[in-house]
Symmetry: C2
Subunit: 252 residues, 2 copies
Amino acid sequence: MPAVSLHGLEGLPLVQPGDDLPALLCDALDRAGLRLTDGDVLVVAQKIVSKAEGRRRPLAEVVPSPRALELAEVVRKDPRLVEVVLSESRDVIRAVPNVLIVEHRLGFVMANAGVDQSNVEGDEAAALLLPEDPDASCRRLRAALERRYGARLAVVMNDSFGRPWRNGVTGVCIGASGLPALLDRRGAPDLFGRALRITEIAVGDEVAAAASMVMGQAGEGIPAVLVRGLRIEGPDRPASALIRSRQHDLFR
Amino acid sequence: MPAVSLHGLEGLPLVQPGDDLPALLCDALDRAGLRLTDGDVLVVAQKIVSKAEGRRRPLAEVVPSPRALELAEVVRKDPRLVEVVLSESRDVIRAVPNVLIVEHRLGFVMANAGVDQSNVEGDEAAALLLPEDPDASCRRLRAALERRYGARLAVVMNDSFGRPWRNGVTGVCIGASGLPALLDRRGAPDLFGRALRITEIAVGDEVAAAASMVMGQAGEGIPAVLVRGLRIEGPDRPASALIRSRQHDLFR
């Protein structure tokens, strides 16, 4: 079968609030001699989307609530950062020294609500929040790229999450448009005609992890990866389909 | 930067106990016109390694213990299968209807101790267990392939795990040799010279997920994937490094 290829896009400028992200990505693709075509999947790092969407919050402007002050003591983090995390969360799942795991307002269970202090430019301390609605960001980015290239594309937004039971972080899908982020294979037969044990595949997370594997190769300098040659059959489903509902979750 | 490519290997025969797996893989690589070279990573599905290592247990030979009978009632599974799962486990983490999550004797927290009933050939019901020591299986496979090709290679074994909080399964690394399955980046500076927030990357799991993404494209017919062009700098670490120790785990 034909190979699937992963092309890391280097040389994007540092993204600023209000930047035209599709244009920056097209420039980087042009420089790499890549022209998007039917079936291509572009994976973008959450960080650059958040920056373009102006999701940066200078910590000097944040006044921590009593609850944030209390929690900051437990987790040993800056109370202003904890305040920002709480403002992005609907529940605290675990809070111990150096670890603050929450349910993000969008449903993701993740450390620090995805709020990041590293790689934000400028001298003053600031927090970078997840995009307001990452699936919507992917839909918009996909529409702009499809107009530009006249091709049927998919866009995935990835971030790095830790996991229970396993060390290290992996890329996960927090936004998607144009592919089944969750693929339902219920009823598909296995090689021997029996129903498959595994019924749903987190395709979005696998694509996100594959892109992270490439992004991680060159430090932090590859904020987007083109995945070419994937043939995923299935209805378009956003990253929100990857979130397990509370009543089906055995671990909170 | 040069692309990373993922080549799915099709056309492997159904693997039987005692088969020479390196030879079968070399044949498939030859047919695909691929010759392994320095830096190549071969990802093999757990299933074919387990089959070659004779890890199949006909259920007719299994006598369930009282504990397996009791647990089978709770999880609504075949008591003989539950007996096999328990024999491969050192703890039961969650048991509810249709779900049995255990700590595998090797430390993996996973459903059914990785014991699989699908895709095992033959008419009689049988269970397929994980390899005795997947890291050792990868070391042996890597040694055989390195001899054959005269190149410095890595081998990863993948399986599909569910996760708390997220729907669907993804590929994870349960065996590795020749690469850092867990990559320590503590102290590495980010783009702005600050210490990175993320300190350990589960490279093995990202490679495993990337391979699963390709394996999933053609139903169940791609049991191995060649990953070419990755440049991962770091010391060789096996999949066992990915297992979080009990005392550092907040979720059991």
